[in-house]
Structure formats: C-alpha cells, structure tokens
C-alpha cells in the first residue's frame, strides 16, 4: 500500500512537471508580447528593453523555464506582470471563494443527483423514473453559461429571490453553486440509479424484506449506504471537471475566484498568473484523481489496485 502510494505520488509530481513545461511552452509561443502590455503605450523603445531585461524575458527559453521552476519549488510563483503583486498572494486571496463554490457545487450535485437516482431506482420502469432520467440527460447536455444566465434571469432579476451575482452571503452562493452542480447531478443520478438497482437486487435486501422491515428502514440502513460507496470514489474526479466550468460560472456571476483571475490574466497575457492558476488547477485535478484511485479499493474490494 505504501509502495503504491509512493509510486502514485512520484507519478503525480512528474505529471505536474510536464504540465508546467507544456504551459510554459504555450505561453512562450503566444504571439503577444507581455512587455508591451506592461510598458504601456507611451513607452520608448529603451523603456521596453529595460523592462524586458528586468523581467528576464530576454533570456533563452530554457533559462527562463529553469528560473521559474526553481522559484516554484520554493513556493514562489513570481509576481504578476501588470499588478506587481505576488501571484501566490493573488491566488491565495481568491482561492477561498473558488473552494467555496466548488464545495457548493459538489453539495448541489450530490443532493440533486442522489435524490433523483434513489427515487428513479425505487420507481424503476415507471413514468417517474423515465421523467427523472430524461431530466438527467438534459442536465448533462445544458451549456453551463446558458443555465447560469437562465437562473440569473429568472430567480435573481425577475423574481428577486437572490442577489444578481456577487459574493458575500449564502444567498450569493446558491445560484452559482446550482449552475455548477447541475451538470454533475445528471451523471450522479444515473450512477446512483444503477448502483441502487444493483444493491436492491442483492440477497441481503431480500432477507431484510422477508424479516418484515419497513421500506424506509431497508433503504436508509441497508440499501443507501452500500449504493453510495462507488459514488464517493467519483467525487475526486469531479474536481477536474469543475475546473473547466469555473471560468464560465465565475465570469457569469461575478464570483471573485481563480477562474475569473485566469480569464482576466489571459486577456492581458499576464503570464505568471496564468502559469500559477494552471499549476494550481492541475494539482487539484491530479490530487482528486489520486484520491479517487486510493479510496476506490477500500470501498470496493473487487477492484484491485494495479
């Protein structure tokens, strides 16, 4: 077990290294000169050259990459080109908002998804089941920015139940979290349904019914806990999927997270920030996958660790 973990950890580090390299390359070949952005429009050629030298952008590619990596290992992600603030500080200040949103998204997708899945499994084959499954299909097919705009329009603008974007209170969190969670809820409801059906087929359930236990008891004590297990392992993978949605959802709702930060940085070619956010996201994805892989064998002994 320890050996396995160590191996996976080592792999994770290699993967992150690869991510940092590829991202650095991509940003290097971007046909936009960050120095010009910093220097502004009134700059003389001399000022531009000065700035280029200051930032070390006149060095060959590998030297630049090497310096970045050296800094990264010590926890220094450099400073934003345009704000001069430390990237690590910028990300740290916005990370809580993003984490909150992700947590909210996970809660939403689990609440909706699991509930729908359980109900669909219980009423299997009947119209309710069909209806819920179609709904789950729709949830998976809906573009998140449309869902976001729709929820904003109906519940915030027209009905006024929630604030129109922004950050601060629980009320601010509801709409963006639901938007983020809807897509995942479609997946989870289907998985929960199959998992539940599988569990309900088992002998021990039949035994429980024969013993005369109430339906509710059976469900809550015996069926649900077993059905949920495979789902739990999947949550880690979710983090990766969320990362994509964050840019859009944070943009639509004006949520001050790292998605919004990344988007603004890309517009202005603020390379240190882009690198920083990519590394943080990639780390989250890798950790999430690792978590899922590690938990799964505990939950389902049938699956061996490779």
């Amino acid at each position: 077990m320890a050996g396995y973990l160590l191996r996976r950890f080592f792999q994770a580090v290699l993967i992150l290294l690869g991510v940092s390299f590829i991202t650095f390359v991509l940003l290097y070949v971007l046909p936009a000169d960050p120095v010009r952005q910093i220097a502004g429009r009134a700059a003389t050629a001399q000022t531009v050259e000065n700035i280029r030298e200051q930032l070390g952008l006149d060095q060959p590619f590998l030297v630049q990459y090497g310096r970045y990596l050296a800094g990264l290992i010590q926890g220094d992600m450099g400073r934003s080109y345009l704000q001069k603030t430390e990237v690590a500080a910028l990300i740290a200040s916005r990370l809580p908002a993003t984490l909150l949103l992700m947590a909210g998204g996970i809660v939403c997708e689990l609440l909706i998804g699991l509930t729908f899945g359980v109900i669909a499994a219980i009423y299997r084959g009947r119209p309710l089941d069909q209806g819920l499954m179609v709904t789950s299909f729709i949830a998976v097919s809906a573009p998140q920015f449309v869902v976001g705009l729709l929820l904003l329009y109906v519940f915030a603008v027209q009905l006024g139940w929630f604030p129109i974007g922004g950050y601060g209170t629980f009320a601010h969190l509801v709409l963006p979290a639901v938007t983020l969670g809807i897509m995942g809820s479609g997946w989870y409801s289907r998985m929960m349904r199959s998992s539940m059906i599988e569990v309900l087929r088992q002998d021990y359930i039949r035994t429980a019914r024969a013993k005369g236990l109430t339906r509710a008891r059976i469900l809550s004590r015996h069926a649900l806990p077993n059905a949920i297990l495979p789902i739990i392992a999947m949550i880690g993978i979710d983090i990766g999927i969320f990362m994509g949605g964050l840019v859009v959802v944070e943009s639509v709702f004006g949520w001050p997270g790292i998605g919004q930060l990344a988007w603004q940085a890309i517009q202005r070619v603020d390379i240190p920030i882009i690198m920083g956010v990519t590394m943080v996201s990639a780390t989250a994805i890798v950790l999430g996958n690792l978590l899922a892989d590690v938990i799964t064998p505990f939950i389902d002994p049938r699956i061996k660790m490779r």
């Binding site: 971007l30 046909p31 936009a32 000169d33 960050p34 010009r36 952005q37 910093i38 220097a39 502004g40 429009r41 009134a42 700059a43 003389t44 050629a45 001399q46 000022t47 531009v48 000065n50 700035i51 030298e53 200051q54 930032l55 400073r79 934003s80 345009l82 704000q83 001069k84 603030t85 430390e86 500080a89 910028l90 200040s93 916005r94 908002a97 603008v157 129109i164 974007g165 922004g166 950050y167 601060g168 004006g254 949520w255 001050p256 919004q260 930060l261 603004q264 890309i266 517009q267 202005r268 070619v269």
Partner: protein, 539 residues
C-alpha cells in the same frame, strides 16, 4: 516666429500661480458621508508610477498629489503641491516653490527631497513604469533610462521647499506632465519598506488615504483630515466594490445600494434609463477626451495609396456605428476629440459618400475591390462594430476578414506592422492629459512608428513631425499660436488619411439622488470618472 517666442518668454519669466480661474467652493457642500462606487475589474495597483487603468486612475489621483493639479471639472492647470513656479527665459528651467506643511498619510512632512525621489523613481528602469516616457524632456532622462545614471541630473533640490527642474529642450507639455499621476510624490521610506508591494499599501499626500483593501472584493478610502487643501474632501470616505457587473451595479443603484456605477450605464439599460425622466435626471453627460478610430497601415498594400485610404474614409457610415452603441458618441471628423484644445471647429473631414468612395477606388486601380483584414479586440461591443465596418466596406467592394482576438494579440499585431486595419475599440486613445500633443507622438508620430510602437498605421511624415516638435517648443501650453499649429498638424494628418476617425464616445455618469456637487465633477475630464475630492452627499 523666434521674435514672438522671445517676447512670450520675457513675460513668462515672472512668478505666477497658474492660468485659469481658481475654483470657487460650492456653497451647498456638506461634509460627511460615505459613498459606494462599483467596478467590474479588480483594482490592479495603487502605485502611482505603475497604475494606468480605468479604475485606478482617479483613485490614485485622490490618494496622491503632484506638483501641478487641475481646476476640478475642467482641463485648466492650477498649482498642486507647488505653490508657485518660475520659468527661465528660454523655457527650459522651472523652479518650483513647494507648499509648507504638507503631510504624508504616515505623518511625515513632505520636502523637495521627496519630489526628487519620486521623479527619479518613475524614470528608473527598475520601476518598470509605463509612464516613464512622459518625462523624456527632463535633462538626464536618457542616462537614467539606459542605466548609466541612478538619478535625473535635471532635477535638483535647492532647499527643502524649492526644487529646480531643467529640461533638455522647451516642452509645452511639461506642466501637464507634472500633473499626471506618474508625477505623484511618494515617500521614500514607505516605498523602500514595501518594495513591490507599495502598490497594495499606498501612502501619499492626497485627500484620501487607504483604509482597507480586500483583494477581489473592495477597497476603502477614508478622509485625510490633515489634507493641505482646506475644506476638502467633503466625504468621510469612499468604498470601491469590485467584481460587479455593470448591469448589477445599475440595479443596485436603483435600489439605493450603490452611488455611482464606475463602468457607466450598460448599453442594454441605456435606453430604458434615458426614457424614464426620474432616472434620466440622475444621468450626467459629458465629453471625453476619447476618439475611436480605424488605423490603416500605410506599409501594407493597398493602403500605401492615398486614394484607397480616402476611399475607406468615405465608405464608413459613422452615424450607423454610433447608433449601434446606442448613440452614446458623436461621429468624429478628425483625430482630436471636440473638448480638446486645438480641435479644429468646422473641419469637414471625409463625408459619408459611397459612390465617391467607389470612384476613388477605381481611380486607384481597384475597380474590382480587394480583400484585407481588420483586427479587433474580442470584447463586446467591438466585434459588433467590426462587423458594421465590414458591411460598410462590402458596399464599396472591399472584402474584410475579421480577426477578433485578445487585446494583447491585437496590440502585438499592430506593433509588428502586420495588421492592415485595426479598430481601436477597447484600446482607443483616451488622452493622458488634456493637451493636443498627447494624441500625436505615440500614435501618429514617427517615433511611434517603429517596431512595437503604438502608431499602428506606421504613418511617418517628417514635415508634420517637425511641425509637431515646433508646436511643443512653446512655454505656455495654451498659447493661441501653439493651438493653431496643432490644429494645422492634425489637418495635415487627415489630408494623408492614415486613420478613419469614427466617433468620440460621450461619458455618461449616473449617480444616486443623494449625491451633490457640480455636474462637471461627475464627468471630470482629468479625474475619470468622478472627482472624489469635491463631491458630497446631501443628507
């Protein structure tokens, strides 16, 4: 010409506080109260040497002061931290007498040493200031810029309240530059203590000081009770909330939660607001020192032919484009905006004339039209405007391919001379200071036409350049002969048609009912958008 210069110089060699009328305080002003301003984008930095954004420009103005200042709500210069100044005969030596008893937010008194430190700092390459180039006329600039020197030789401390600045050539824009944010006076010990984090912990001499900054959410200013100008600011403080979409901000204003949406009235709500008399009364319209234009790259065929450039000028339906942005602009005829000194009243420019444009093209040998590219920034409404331009040019047989890209990519293509046409939207020129020369140098002059420069049309006319230099060699920026010269410069530029000036955006500021103060303060041409020092609340 020379004789005139001498006599003007003679008159100028006397001490004088500045040109225009002093500001008469508002009798209705009541001190007290906090206001809330919203912005969509985060505030990047409040370091005056670096800040160059829409949001932080006016914020920095309220936190810091420079030697010169402007009469609130106008483009007229007046003394700032310098109580008075004298100019030498040839216009190259300025001696400023500083006010006594000006205190920084950290309690220390300001002296001439601070002025020297601030000017050295902004021109030092290590600071990476985007405004360093403005100080090019100060003697010693080249040395400090190339790294040979660590201070500006032209800035000399005579005594704690007197500072002397020597220019390498007469520069009519110098006083304006002294009123720029980049010339703000900063305290050395705080800058050295904070290093690169000074931008998040600014300390200046301004009417407000920074009281709180929660990154990504809000910045709060509080009144500087030791401010050297008596009676102002009226407000107890200002709260800036960031990350707010303009539509959200407007809705919150309607509910009384926000006082001024900093990004203006969103286009989608504009019509609705203006049609409601109660809301329209809270909207103030003013001119902006802004021009939106299309650059035509004279180095790329077929724009190397004057006739083709003229044809394109004649083909653009500026009225329709103005309609696309809800009429919040006036069609432009020349590079300078109407409220800029030096603007040529009644200049006809190129009238909208499709047939004439087709004829011109045929004249140039392009009776069958041609294909070319238009680069545009990919944020709304610029792609829409680009498509309107595309349709206009299709009418004269020109096929336009649109390249809608991120801002940085467009700037890169423009600087490299790759882009045949660029729509300036989102990157359009707004004057750094209210002087006609600001619209020339970097974007129309030979200096900006080099590799990476902002003169995206790569237009370089030695004759016009010479006229521009001459126009800047005056001492008094407002001299009528100078403005005449500048007017001539731009007329000559338009004769060569390297640009299609399309519109000048109007500023619309909406304020809550409880805010008071002269209208001009809400469309302040210098402290954009609102002059926080002079507004107040009426409750």
């Amino acid at each position: 010409m020379k004789k005139l210069l001498c006599s003007t110089a003679l008159i100028a060699a006397t001490a004088f506080p500045l040109v225009a009328q002093e500001y008469s305080p508002d009798p209705d002003a009541t001190p007290g109260g906090m206001i809330t301003i919203t912005y969509k984008d985060d505030v990047a930095t409040l370091d005056p040497a670096i800040g160059y954004d829409w949001q932080n420009w006016s914020m920095i103005k309220s936190l810091f002061d420079g030697l010169m200042d402007y009469v609130p709500g106008t483009t007229d210069l007046r003394p700032g931290l310098a109580e008075s100044y004298t100019v030498s005969e040839d216009g190259t030596v300025f001696t400023f007498t500083l006010r006594a008893g000006v205190i920084f937010h950290n309690g220390r008194e300001m002296t001439a040493e601070d002025v020297k430190y601030s000017l050295d700092r902004v021109t030092l390459p290590a600071t990476q200031s985007p405004g360093a180039g403005f100080f090019a006329s100060i003697a010693g600039f080249d040395e400090i810029s190339s790294g040979e020197a660590e201070t500006l030789s032209g800035v000399e401390v005579i005594d704690p309240l007197t500072i002397q600045i020597t220019l390498s050539r007469p520069d009519a824009t110098f006083l304006h530059v002294m009123g720029l944010n980049f010339a703000s006076i900063v305290p050395r010990e705080v800058v050295e203590e904070m290093g690169d984090d000074f931008g998040k912990n600014p300390v200046g001499t301004g009417a407000f000081k920074l009281s709180e900054w929660t990154i990504g959410q809000r910045v709060v200013f509080e009144k500087n009770t030791d401010y050297w100008r008596a009676g102002v600011p009226y407000l107890d403080g200002v709260t800036f909330e960031v990350g707010q979409e303009p539509i959200v901000a407007l809705l919150r204003l309607q509910q009384g939660e926000v006082d001024v949406p900093g990004d203006g009235i969103p286009p989608a709500k504009f019509v609705e607001v203006m049609n409601d008399p109660a809301q329209a009364a809270q909207v103030i319209e003013g001119g902006q020192l802004h021009t939106g234009y299309i650059t035509l790259n004279v180095g790329v065929a077929p724009f190397d032919q004057l006739a083709v450039r003229e044809a394109v000028n004649m083909a653009i339906n500026k009225e329709r484009i103005t309609q696309i942005i809800n009429g919040r602009a006036v069609p432009a005829t020349q590079p300078l905006p109407p409220s800029m000194p030096g603007y040529t009243e009644g200049f006809a420019g190129f009238a909208y004339d499709v047939d004439g444009a087709i004829a011109k093209l045929a004249e140039a040998g392009f009776a069958d039209g041609f294909t070319t590219e238009l680069y545009v920034m990919n944020t709304d409404p610029n792609p829409r405007i680009a498509q309107a331009i595309q349709q206009d040019l299709a009418a004269i047989g020109v096929t336009l391919e649109i390249r809608s890209l991120a801002q940085a990519n467009v700037i890169e293509a423009g600087g490299a001379g790759q882009a045949p046409m660029i729509w300036s939207g989102g990157m359009a020129w707004i004057a750094d200071f209210p002087d006609p020369s600001n619209f020339y140098g970097p974007i129309l002059g030979c200096a900006g036409a080099g590799e990476g420069g902002w003169n995206w049309s790569k237009f370089c006319n030695e004759g016009i350049d010479a006229m521009a230099v001459e126009a800047d060699s005056f001492i008094d920026p407002a001299a009528p002969e100078r403005l005449e010269l500048w007017s001539q410069v731009y007329q000559d530029v338009m004769a060569q048609a390297p640009w299609v000036p399309v519109f000048n955006e109007q500023r619309y500021t909406m304020k809550s009912a409880r805010m008071g103060g002269d209208d001009a303060l809400y469309v302040d041409p210098v402290s954009i958008p609102v002059n926080y020092d002079y507004v107040y609340v009426t409750e």
